[in-house]
Each structure stands twice: as C-alpha cells, then as structure tokens.
C-alpha cells in the first residue's frame, strides 16, 4: 500500500496532524487539506488512494465535498468522520457512495481496517457482486420484524424513532437490532447501511 496516498480533509489542525502521525506509524503516506476547497483545487493531480473527510466543516461541508468530487469524476473511495449525533448524515453519505463512516474519537484498529478495505475496494466488481448475493442470503433469514428494524436503522433512524415508527418499545428495537447485527454478521452500523444499500441495488 506504500504507493497509495491518504488525502485527509479536516478543519481541525490537531486532528489532521494526529491522523497523519497515526498513518505514518503504519507506513501510510498522507496529504493534508484544511478544507474541501483545498482538495478540489488539486483534483487533476490527485495521487491514487483514498479520501478521509470530516463532515462538519466551515465553508464547504463534507457532503458538498463528496458530491463535488463525484461530479468531477474523482473515483477515490471516501471515508467520512463524524462527530456526535451526525449518524443520519453519515447514512446519507453512505448512500452518496461513501465506503465507511467513523464516529470521533475512533479506535485506530477500526480506522485502519476501514482504510484497508477502502484501498482494496473497487478493484473487483465480481467480488462485490458475490458479496451482494451473500448479503441477500443472510437477509433472507431475517424475520419480518427484524427486517423492518434493519431497514429503519439503516435509513438513519435512532432506536427511539424506529420504535415509534414500528409501534414497539425502544427496548424491543434494541433486541431486534442486536439480532439483526448477528444474523447479518455486521460489526458496525456502517456495515448494516452498506448491506442495506446492496440489497436495494440488487432489488432495483
């Protein structure tokens, strides 16, 4: 992975610097940008690799940056970092083609795993399709209620909102949610969101 570059966009200098330090400790090269505009200015000469961007930033926010990048044909996998209570926004980002999102502060192991996935993604369309079939098979095992909870959660609803929508208690939603995670072999919420998108693609 040494020939790839991680492009880090964050308005917070300490965050940028510390991320770069962490990645360098793992032998990953990075380039730092203090905002979306700085990254877009280099669109033509971007080294291959991936993009890590914050969502809440002054000026251009993360969502705007993502859509700009896609419009200008930048196909780099994107990882989104979110603050507290930004989950619905992160789900929206996933639907816009982001490969993963992480809540700050994040575990370095989780970040590095997400990075590796991102850096190897997009190389094998066949792998993605087979994965999609696998997810479909797993989803077929869900009960009707589990499926409803799965969809609600993956669309960015909190446990409470999902509970109100489905007319059950938040506690029950929690139990269903745990069941869904286990049956779907998902580790994080972003896994669920990604699977949900795959299923929707397959159905479409």
């Amino acid at each position: 992975m040494s020939e790839t570059m991680v492009h880090i966009v964050d308005d917070d200098a300490a965050m940028r610097d510390s991320l770069a330090f962490l990645l360098s400790a793992e032998g990953l090269a990075s380039r730092l940008y203090e905002g979306g505009a700085a990254l877009l200015a280099r669109v033509g000469e971007l080294e291959p690799g991936c993009v890590i961007t914050d969502i809440r930033m002054p000026g251009m926010n993360g969502m705007e940056l993502i859509s700009q990048l896609r419009q200008q044909g930048v196909a780099h996998p994107i990882i989104v970092l979110t603050g507290h209570a930004d989950v619905p926004l992160a789900v929206q980002a996933m639907k816009a083609g982001v490969v993963d999102f992480l809540e700050k502060p994040f575990d370095d192991v989780v970040l590095l795993r997400a990075l590796r996935t991102a850096l190897t993604q997009g190389q094998s369309e066949a792998a993605r399709l087979s994965q999609s079939a696998e997810v479909g098979a797993l989803a077929a095992l869900l009960t009707k209620r589990e499926r409803q909870v799965f969809e609600a959660i993956a669309s960015g609803d909190s446990n409470k909102t999902a509970a109100i929508k489905l007319g059950i208690s938040p506690r029950t939603v929690e139990i269903y949610r745990a069941n869904v995670m286990e049956k779907m072999k998902a580790h994080t919420l972003s896994d669920l969101v990604r699977m949900s998108m795959m299923l929707n693609d397959a159905n479409a």
Partner: protein
C-alpha cells in the same frame, strides 16, 4: 271604577288630616258645651280663657293648620255664645296665631327628624344587605383583637358562626405562628403606629374551624372613633386562584426547566463535537505512538513529540470545559436586599397548596436577626419551592407527616434556610445534586441540580443531612445583607 278607587285611596290617605281637623272642631265644641252646661263663666275665666288650651294643644299636636282653624273656630263659637268682649277676642286671636307659628316650627323640626330617621334606616338596610351578601368575609375587631362583628361571608369562609366568634380573640382564625403573635402585632401597631398590613393588604394563611388552612387575601382598614379604635378586615379565600397560580407557576418552572434542558442539550451536542476534536487527536497520537513503540527501530523523538502533542490536546479539552463552566455561571439576576421570611412564606404558600388536605403539619420558625438577605428573589423562591415540594413528595404515604421550615444563622455567617421532612430520608452517597439524578420514579433529576446552580451562583451552599427524628433536612445558605440596608417590601 278606577276613578272611584283612586278617590277612595286619596281619601284614606288624607284621613289623618280629616281626623285632625275633626278632632279640633270636636274639642272646641266639647269645651264650649261643657262651659255652657256647667256655667263656668266668671269674670276671671271667660269662655275664651277655657278655649285657649284647646287651641294650644291643637297647634302643638296638629300643626299650624289645626291651630289656625281652632283659633278661628274658637272666635266664632265665643262670638255665638257671648257676642261681646272685643279686647279679649283680639288677644285670643293674637295668641292663637303665635301658638300656631310655634306649632309650625315644631312640626317642621319633627318632619326633618323623621326624614333623617328614614334615610338612616334605609342606609342601614343597604349596608346590612351588602354585609350579608358580600362574598368576602368582613370581620371587625377592637383594639385588643376581640371580634366585634363577623359577617355571613366570614361564616362561610371560616366555618365558624358569628355567635361562636363574637367576643373571642381574632387569633382563633389564624394558624401558628401568627396565632401566637397577633396580639403582639396589634400592640406594636398601637404603640408605634407603624403600618405593616393596614391599608396595604397582603396574602396570609387563615385557619378554618376544622383546622385546615387556606391562603387568603387580607385587607385591613382602621376606624377611629370616640370610643377607641377598631379594625375592619376584609377576607377573601384565594385557594382556587392560588391553585391556578401555582399550576401556572409550575408550568412556568417546567418551561424554564425544559428550555434550560434544550439549551443544555444543544450545548451538550456542540460540546461533544468540540471535545471530540482534541479527544480524537489524543487517541490518534497515542495509538500512533504505541504502534511506533511496537516497531523495531529508533523512534524515541517521534514518540516524544507525539506524546507532547497529545498532552497539548488534553489541555485544549480542559480549556473547552472551562469555557462551558463560564457560560453556565453567566446570567445572574439582580440581587436585592429582601426579607427571607417573606420570600420563604410566599414560596411555601405556593408549594403547600393542598398540603393541609393531605394531612401534612407545617411549622415555621424564623429568626428575625437574619431576615435581610442579598438575593435574587425568584430563583431563591424556586429553590424553596423545589425543596418543599420534594419534602411533600417524600412524605407521601408516610405515617408521620411534619414539615418544618426554619431560618437561622449558619456557621459561616450567612442565613441558612432549612426544610425538614419526616419522609423516607435520603440514602447516604446519593448524588442528589448532580444533574439527571433522581430518586423519584417520575423525576427528571433537574430540580436539585438547578437549585444547586442557583444557590452557588449566590455564593451559598446547599446540602442535605438526615433528620434526627427520621426523614431528611435540606439546607442552603444565602448571604446576609450588609448592615443598614433597607429591606425591600417586594411586589
């Protein structure tokens, strides 16, 4: 037909006049008849001499009309019987006129008296009906506090009948501590003339015959007469109004809580985001450093640099928290010198609406030496209201339900307000004053934490200790007013 009845009626109405004239003529004829019959005439007492008392009587009793008629009739009779004596007749006529004039004056005076009597009686009837139908109670006491009058309204409000209260001391209508002090209040007023309630009006607590208490609006007027002073009290039961007000205040307090919570929620979200930056950076630096340490090679400088940067980020996180605390301590209200007793009584009156009905015995003990405090009235009242409401909640279902509210000197030279209950008490170690900690099933855990914020913003302390007789005591302190500052009367 109608004409006839009207005629009859006027005739009957005129009957007294007809009778008077008839009686006048009759009296004259009778006297003249008797004179003729018994030959009473002497040179010293001619007929006119006998008739003049009749003229007098007619003029005085019947007025000028009958007097004049009697004079003329007397002259005519005398002329008929003894047709001479011109001089005596002239004198008789003159005295008859004079007596008639006197009769006129007497009659006029009597009429005026009669009219005044009528007006007085009418006014009395008016006042009486006002007195009896006024929804407010009216109580008149003399200058030593003895009830002299107790209206129907007062009977309705207090449950006592007028007969039961007249002649007794008015303190029977108030709960302690006023019951014991009322004579003192009166005595002080008579001695100093300093008005605390007279002409001002105030909300106080009354006690009914059945021992229940209720908030009432009391206005007092003073009557000074030759027979000494008396005081009129107008009493209005405001239980319902106050219950509505209490509900309103509760809603307002809830609103304040909610808006504060919303603000806190927004702040928490902003704070989380802001804190996540340095925390995330710290995590990255430390994880990176640990990874470097796992690797063979010479990286001590890079590791040291990362650790230093992590420490700086920790300081930054601390700075964010300090800013938050500054923000929370902002928004102080206006501090004034206020009477802690009055402030406490008002808050308690609100908090205790309905408490008597649920069988809670309430006692107060105020130390006048620490009465003037420097405080922002409403927030401090909110603290007291919270504490008293909590105390009542704590005693819900308890066998012994006694609430004691006191003010006293605290050990650190402030005024200490204590609210003691006989409820279940507080389990040791409960972090009662932390936000979102509640021992109630439906509590939000906001009241005491806000109370603490308020008390600490005043420079005081709030704490709890077990009540030696069972239950809990909540105490807080407020700074005493500087000596010599006048205490504000409040709204």
């Amino acid at each position: 037909m109608r004409a006839i009845t009207r005629r009859l009626r006027t005739l009957t109405e005129q009957r007294p006049r007809v009778l008077t004239y008839g009686a006048t003529a009759l009296a004259l004829v009778v006297v003249a008849g008797l004179w003729t019959l018994f030959r009473l005439s002497t040179p010293e007492a001619p007929l006119l001499y006998w008739l003049s008392p009749v003229v007098c009587a007619c003029a005085i009793l019947g007025g000028p009309g009958p007097g004049l008629v009697a004079t003329a009739l007397g002259l005519a009779i005398a002329w008929l019987i003894v047709p001479d004596g011109g001089g005596a007749q002239l004198a008789f006529a003159a005295s008859g006129l004079a007596v008639s004039l006197v009769g006129y004056l007497v009659r006029r005076e009597r009429r005026r008296d009669h009219r005044m009597d009528l007006a007085l009686a009418e006014r009395e009837a008016h006042l009486g009906s006002i007195y009896d139908t006024a929804p407010d109670g009216l109580i008149v006491i003399d200058e030593i506090g003895v009830i002299r009058s107790f209206s129907a309204g007062a009977e309705r409000i207090f449950g006592w009948s007028a007969a039961e209260t007249l002649g007794r001391n008015v303190s029977m209508l108030m709960p302690a501590p006023d019951r014991g002090s009322h004579d003192g209040y009166l005595g002080r007023y008579l001695k100093t003339g300093e008005r605390r309630i007279i002409g001002v009006g105030r909300i106080v607590v009354g006690e009914r015959k059945d021992g229940s208490t209720f908030p009432m609006e009391l206005a007092i007027g003073e009557i000074r007469s030759e027979r000494g002073r008396a005081f009129t009290g107008f009493v209005r039961d405001i239980t319902e109004r106050q219950a509505a007000q209490a509900r309103l205040q509760e809603l307002q307090a809830e609103l304040v809580h909610m808006s504060r919570l919303t603000a806190m929620g927004e702040m928490a979200s902003a704070l989380a985001h802001e804190l996540n930056q340095p925390l995330g950076a710290i995590a990255n630096y430390l994880s990176g450093a640990r990874r470097l340490m796992d690797r063979p090679g010479d990286n001590p400088d890079r590791i040291a640099e990362a650790l230093e940067k992590a420490a700086a980020q920790a300081m930054r996180a601390g700075e964010i928290i300090r800013r938050l605390r500054d923000f929370l301590s902002r928004g102080e209200g206006e501090r004034r010198v206020v009477s802690i007793q009055k402030l406490t009584q008002e808050a308690c009156a609100l908090a205790l609406v309905g408490a008597k009905e649920s069988g809670v015995r309430v006692q107060y003990n105020f130390d006048p030496a620490v009465d003037g405090v420097l405080a922002d009235r409403l927030p401090v009242q909110q603290v007291i209201l919270n504490l008293v409401r909590n105390a009542l909640d704590a005693m819900d279902g308890a066998v012994r339900r006694e609430l004691l509210v006191t003010t006293a000197h605290s050990s650190d030279g402030m005024t200490m307000v204590s609210v003691a209950d006989t409820g279940a008490g507080v389990a040791p170690g409960t972090k009662l004053f932390e936000p979102f900690v509640s021992t109630k099933t439906d509590g939000m855990g906001v009241g005491l934490s806000i109370s603490r914020t308020i008390v600490e913003a005043h420079g005081g302390r709030i704490w709890t200790e077990p009540n030696p007789g069972g239950g809990a005591i909540f105490r807080f302190t407020v700074p005493l007013a500087p000596v010599g500052e006048p205490v504000e009367a409040g709204p």
